[in-house]
């Protein structure tokens, strides 16, 4: 049997640098795949010896797309190490910023990173504006921008852009590929909404600016949040600021309910065959988040914690990320060394040396039997897991949470699909929309909770009792986590004499994009590609669909910690 090797590098419309190599059989079906993170920055090495109160700012720069989530995991791990309990208002403000990030990031992913896998921009040129208006009004009856005139303007914009001969970001793509199934009117509607979503994303994110001073990279604080609240001050969170937050949340509800979800379901209905492609591992994990009774009480998280194995929705297993026996990172196919030839280490003991053994660039291919990625391979009790929106939605659904049941059942009903359809590329993409719907209403509830506290005269935003390093123990270890938009994120810190002795992050895209482990188990991306038929290997639309359904974030994924502050890479270029 002949093998054809398809290389897609760079995978675009993601964060960071990802390479996929897929091996096709003679029917052009993917029989093996390799996911490679092609960048490494060494931020955890840089953190050693620093003030732990500064760590949030360094780790936040792990990623500017998932901005906020590393800062949140970082302040939580330092607070966990030092025994700090943040005031309730700080927790609520963090929840508000967290949920804002979800809503904004998921909408950007759908329209600007993922949609072009399903939407043929060039086909939109053939659309009839009046028919498009009729379609749009049917898909979302309350969305105001749906007149024939509006779509006529969008079509004219698109036409002139294409006729200019300068196609910019849209040139040399896969337009006209048989995998594109939408009628021209649906394509034009999606192009119009691509532009609407681009305008809107910069509005909702102002919630970060209000509480964190800027976005990307808003400010956090160990012990609480830096934005003081004073309803009698024009220089703190006051009525004017709260009104802006409230208005932005209401605007977001409109976008999720009247733009994102209707578009998602409309587009999905044309691609139901993708509900049987791209399922992958079938193992799902979530640490859970959005605490309602402090970060220590996982039973009160809005996103529940748990594990689902082998697509078994009848059972949700417990996960304890602080348990050294449960989570470890392997390096059998990663460009690192562990001392003494060890093969797997828990994050608290994370000791790694980068050791590049790949081909000297420029290269054509990597070797699937050797080391081939800057990502390590995290495993739960030795098993590869998928994390992210699908994992969270399935765990919420399987945990019997009524709000999860409701959104899942409604969406499946509208698509006429069974629950098993969720284990797929389409299911992953749909889950992101469904949890955005949950998130935007939770956002409103968190805002109302904050107002209730203020009504009761509760204004505190920071606990500074352990701000001064002289109050810290000589040595402390802490674990912090969050459910980043892309999945479970854990930070581990070891503080000694007031400084960071060791810091490690195990990141969602490391779980999902990981290479094979010592047992040859694929990571989630690799597993999801297996069995996918490709129409034309030179136009890898199918690979992009499944990989984008995970929303890759590679700057997050590649990281490493050294045993001391002076770890040097050893490199063997063959």
């Amino acid at each position: 049997m002949s093998t054809q090797r398809v290389v897609v590098d760079p995978i675009t419309r993601i964060e960071g640098h990802l390479r996929i190599e897929a091996m096709l059989d003679d029917r052009k079906v993917i029989k093996d795949a390799m996911s490679t993170g092609t960048m490494w920055r060494g931020i955890e090495i840089i953190l050693q010896g620093r003030d732990p109160r500064d760590a949030w700012a360094f780790t936040e720069r792990i990623c500017g797309v998932c901005t906020t989530v590393h800062a949140l995991a970082s302040v939580r791990c330092v607070e966990n190490a030092l025994g700090i309990k943040v005031p309730e208002n700080a927790e609520i403000i963090r929840n508000i910023m967290f949920l804002t990030q979800y809503v904004q990031d998921h909408v950007i992913h759908f329209y600007h990173l993922h949609a072009l896998d399903w939407v043929d921009v060039v086909s939109a040129l053939k659309a009839d504006p009046a028919a498009t208006a009729a379609l749009a009004q049917k898909v979302s009856p309350h969305w105001p921008l749906a007149s024939a005139g509006y779509f006529s303007d969008v079509a004219a914009t698109l036409k002139k852009f294409v006729e200019s001969g300068q196609l910019g970001l849209f040139q040399n793509a896969y337009w006209g590929h048989p995998a594109y199934k939408l009628p021209p009117e649906a394509n034009l509607m999606a192009v119009a909404h691509y532009l609407e979503a681009l305008r809107w994303q910069k509005e909702i994110i102002k919630i970060h600016t209000i509480f964190g001073g800027k976005n990307p990279h808003p400010n956090y604080l160990v012990g609480g949040m830096p934005c003081a609240i004073d309803l009698n001050s024009d220089n703190a969170i006051n009525m004017e600021r709260l009104n802006l937050v409230r208005d932005l949340i209401n605007g977001a509800i409109t976008i999720i309910e009247q733009l994102y979800l209707p578009d998602l379901l409309a587009i999905a209905s044309f691609y139901l065959e993708w509900a049987a492609i791209g399922g992958g591992l079938g193992n799902y994990m979530a640490y859970g988040d959005v605490p309602q009774n402090g970060i220590g009480d996982a039973s009160k998280f809005r996103f529940p914690r748990g594990i689902i194995l082998n697509k078994n929705l009848a059972e949700v297993l417990p996960v304890d990320p602080t348990d050294a026996q449960q989570i470890a990172e392997e390096i059998a196919h990663s460009w690192y060394d562990y001392p003494g030839g060890q093969t797997a280490l828990h994050p608290f003991d994370g000791v790694t040396q980068p050791h590049y053994t790949g081909p000297r660039p420029p290269y054509e291919n990597l070797d699937e039997n050797g080391k081939y990625s800057w990502l390590k391979a995290p495993r739960w009790k030795g098993t590869a897991m998928e994390v992210g929106p699908l994992a969270r939605v399935l765990i919420g659904y399987a945990s019997g949470r009524p709000e999860f049941k409701e959104v899942v059942t409604e969406a499946l009903g509208r698509l006429g699909a069974p629950p098993a359809a969720l284990f797929s590329t389409l299911g992953r993409t749909a889950a992101r929309g469904l949890e955005s719907r949950l998130a935007v209403y939770w956002l409103k509830e968190e805002y109302e909770h904050l107002v209730t506290n203020l009504k009761a005269g509760i204004n505190l935003t920071a606990d500074t009792s352990k701000w001064d390093p002289s109050t810290w123990p000589a040595e402390a270890k802490g674990f912090g986590f969050t459910e980043a938009p892309r999945g479970s994120l854990g930070h581990w810190v070891h503080i000694k004499e007031g400084k960071i002795a060791n810091y490690q992050a195990v990141v969602p895209s490391t779980w999902n994009a990981s290479p094979k482990d010592g047992k040859g188990q694929h990571g989630a991306y690799e597993a999801a590609l297996l069995g996918t038929p490709m129409a034309d290997p030179k136009q890898p639309v199918e690979i992009l669909r499944t990989i984008h359904s995970f929303d890759p974030c590679l700057a997050c994924a590649s990281h490493v910690v050294g045993p001391d502050g002076r770890t040097l890479a050893t490199v063997t270029v063959r």
Binding site: V7, T12, R199, G213, H217, P361, P362
Partner: protein, 371 residues
């Protein structure tokens, strides 16, 4: 280039998109104002956008976190859509590109060949130089190589953000990958440094539109930053400056001073050593900025800001303008004036009371500062 001349101008495109001339002129006026130009310059903006074809831009990504791209799409005037569809031809940008894999590489090669000396290279992130550059590869090629190759025929290089301008987080001690900013790797080309982690969205679109509008690069300071955006110290433009001058400081998070919006100098604010536009433009269409939301500036647009001491350790000895005094000395002096007579540093409550007493006594500001 013949090809370049046949391209429609921004004005033609806007007209074709249904924008009438009146709206176009309004847009030009707004853009001129956004760039801090007076009314006489509006005509130039109009002319530029009417007559010029769109310049190709190749936007490369090295070691970075993509916060610059995110900031770029947060720009409110002009919005990213206008820049990308109507002003430039953004031919290459991994973050938003429809094509992937070798098709992307084809685009880069084509633009380099067809537009020699006529395209702008925008760089987000920087290049790892250690170990032959293996810490960042794209399409099997090192980013270091790709950067040098793409810069070769570029008209100018725009170094987005602190990564490209001065190294940023991956270049912080001990810089494990040997990450180096663009200006240390590319020579003999104009390099515009637009630092910040990230830079403000309107600063990014402002730099691009300045080049398109005036057909020249903006005036740069001695370290390559556009003077129009990096010419002033935050501390000199800060709306909390009066509290610094009055000796009213936040002493602890969420204290009375924090709620009243007093000066964050003692909480480590880097405003006194940072040059950026945050205090004037603010962030996300003027909603707020770090100091405005209660956290000190971390100096993210300054070289080596990650290694300039812990963020919450206050800068030592920031002198007051025109006087040889520091905030602590003001405190002492004020206390002496009020007759409290404590030599050592003391808390803000006493300072405040002392200053209050001084003002009540009708003491001039300067007399209290000169010991």
């Amino acid at each position: 280039m013949e090809k370049a001349l046949t391209r429609p101008t921004t004005y033609e495109l806007l007209r074709a998109h249904g924008v009438d001339r009146r709206s176009f002129l309004k847009f030009c006026t707004m853009m001129a104002a956004a760039m801090g130009l007076d009314a006489t310059a509006v005509g130039k903006v109009v002319e530029a956008l009417e007559k010029k074809p769109r310049i190709p831009v190749l936007w490369l990504h090295g070691l970075e976190c993509t916060c610059c791209s995110e900031s770029f799409i947060r720009s409110s005037h002009p919005i990213a859509q206008d820049v990308v569809l109507n002003m430039i031809s953004l031919d290459l940008d991994d973050t938003l590109q429809a094509a992937a894999g070798f098709q992307v590489e084809e685009i880069r090669k084509r633009i380099m060949k067809e537009y020699p000396g006529k395209y702008i290279l925008a760089v987000e992130g920087n290049a790892p130089t250690k170990d032959g550059g293996v810490y960042c590869t794209v399409g099997g090629q090192t980013f270091l190589d790709m950067l040098r190759e793409t810069a070769e025929n570029a008209m100018a290089v725009v170094a987005w953000g602190s990564c490209a301008s001065n190294g940023c987080v991956q270049a912080a001690h001990p810089n494990p990958t040997g990450a180096m900013p663009v200006h240390k790797l590319i020579h003999g080309k104009p390099v515009i440094n637009v630092p910040g982690c990230p830079p403000i969205g309107e600063v990014m679109t402002g730099v691009i539109t300045y080049i398109l509008t005036f057909d020249r690069l903006p005036e740069l300071d001695r370290i390559g930053r556009p003077k129009m955006f990096y010419g002033q110290r935050l501390h000199d433009k800060c709306y909390r400056r009066s509290f610094f001058d009055a000796g009213q400081f936040v002493e602890a998070w969420d204290d009375e001073g924090a709620r009243k919006g007093w000066c964050l100098y003692k909480m480590g604010c880097r405003g006194p050593s940072t040059y950026n536009s945050c205090a004037t433009f603010k962030w996300n269409n003027g909603v707020s900025w770090p100091i405005g939301s209660g956290h000190g500036c971390i100096g993210c647009s300054e070289a080596n800001f990650w290694d300039n001491g812990p963020f919450y350790q206050r800068l030592s000895a920031v002198p007051l303008p025109g006087v040889e005094s520091t905030p602590d000395q003001i405190g002492k002096t004020a206390a002496v004036v009020a007759g409290v007579g404590v030599a050592a540093h003391f808390g803000s409550f006493l300072v405040r009371r002392a200053l209050g007493a001084r003002k009540a006594d009708g003491e001039g500001h300067s007399s209290g500062e000169r010991e």
